[in-house]
Amino acid sequence: MFMTNIETVPGKRIVACQGVVAGSTVRAKHAGRDLMAGLKNIFGGELRGYTELLEESREQAINRMKQQAAQLGGNAIVNVRFSTSSVAAGAAEIYVYGTSVTVAD
């Protein structure tokens, strides 16, 4: 399934549109990662544990969005946008949305 963050899928023609589809996950890191992050708060540097966690969550959110588009009969998603927010102590929410379309050559 194609995904772009522009209006179209380059090289293809949009023949139908199903409207907005979205995928979201809320993931919490476990206490161990918290510990390392606490230490990093002192020393600075990339929080690799969190980066991985959010990347996994994003993957899952994108998959959920693709599934929703497939349910509606689309085969591509255009104008994809991401949003991350922290909703609880230690948990982050990833929201990805776009417009589900059917493309043909």
Binding site: V15, C17, Q71, G73
Partner: protein, 271 residues
């Protein structure tokens, strides 16, 4: 281009597991984890405590607790007599502190082993009708706390568990209220074990000093008269074992170690 409106058949953005079941699972796992952490901390602290000598401990505690009292003049006479009673017991119990007796003016019968080496005895205890042997048992029990370095142990445990809980749970999570009962349980069980161990030391001190253990259970029997038992099941959370249980354990230990009982001596400590 066509607009094909539709709604998805199933909502992929939510999991469909039942929240009640998930909650129960998680809380059981969390309680088990906390109890395990307390247990492991116990071992670690026990090991560490044997490596701290009393001088260092005194210096550590001097900064932490300023509780060391000096004796007021009204009870100097009683203090001297309690110290006379304490002397032979010191020979019977191997502990590294120099013990100082302080008499506290308090109607409640009690005795405290204070970190650093002070032993507090209330006037209520001296007037509660104990025999000399009964009081010696109490002194021996408190010496047991000193011998086992119970204060340092308690401090070490609190410190380690506090650091663990802050780093793993964090300051503003809601589950600290949820998990504190299990933490309390772990600490209460440890405290009860400490008290039982000190009871055994008291018993051995009596045997060593008098050649018999008559009078060991006097204090608890006196307390039982007015004491109300805690609610069923809640005795696991108390810091001391139940009175009846303490009396039974002392009798069993005396039997197992062939400690005889004999007549007790009257207490000779004036007002």
């Amino acid at each position: 281009m066509q607009y094909q409106p539709g709604l998805p058949e199933h909502n992929d953005n939510v999991s469909h597991q039942r929240p009640g079941r998930e909650f129960l699972l998680l809380i059981v796992a969390a309680v088990v984890f906390v109890l395990l952490a307390v247990w492991v901390t116990g071992f670690a602290v026990n090991w560490a405590v044997t490596r701290v000598d009393p001088q260092t401990e005194k210096r550590l505690l001097a900064g932490v607790s300023g509780v060391l009292d000096s004796q007021d003049d009204a009870h100097l006479e009683q203090k001297k007599r309690v110290e006379k009673l304490l002397q032979p017991l010191l020979a019977c119990v191997d502990q590294p502190y120099d013990i100082q007796v302080v008499i506290q003016d308090d109607a409640a019968p009690n005795a405290f082993a204070v970190p650093g080496g002070q032993m507090w005895v209330t006037t209520g205890l001296l007037e509660s009708g104990l025999s000399e042997n009964g009081l010696s048992f109490i002194l021996g029990h408190e010496l047991g706390h000193f011998a086992n370095r119970d204060h340092l142990r308690g401090m070490g445990r609190s410190l380690v568990l506090w650091v663990l809980s802050r780093s793993l749970i964090g300051g503003d999570s809601g589950i600290s209220e949820l998990l504190s009962p299990s933490l309390l349980l772990g600490e209460a069980q440890h405290s009860q074990a400490q008290e039982s161990a000190a009871d055994v030391t008291g018993l051995q001190a009596l045997q060593c000093r008098y050649g018999h253990v008559g009078g060991a259970t006097e204090f608890f029997e006196n307390l039982q008269i007015n004491h109300a038992d805690s609610l069923p099941g809640m005795h696991y959370f108390e810091s001391h074992p139940q009175l009846q249980q303490r009396i039974k354990s002392l009798q069993t230990t005396a039997r197992e170690q062939s400690m005889p009982t004999a007549k007790v001596l009257p207490l000779q400590i004036g007002r």
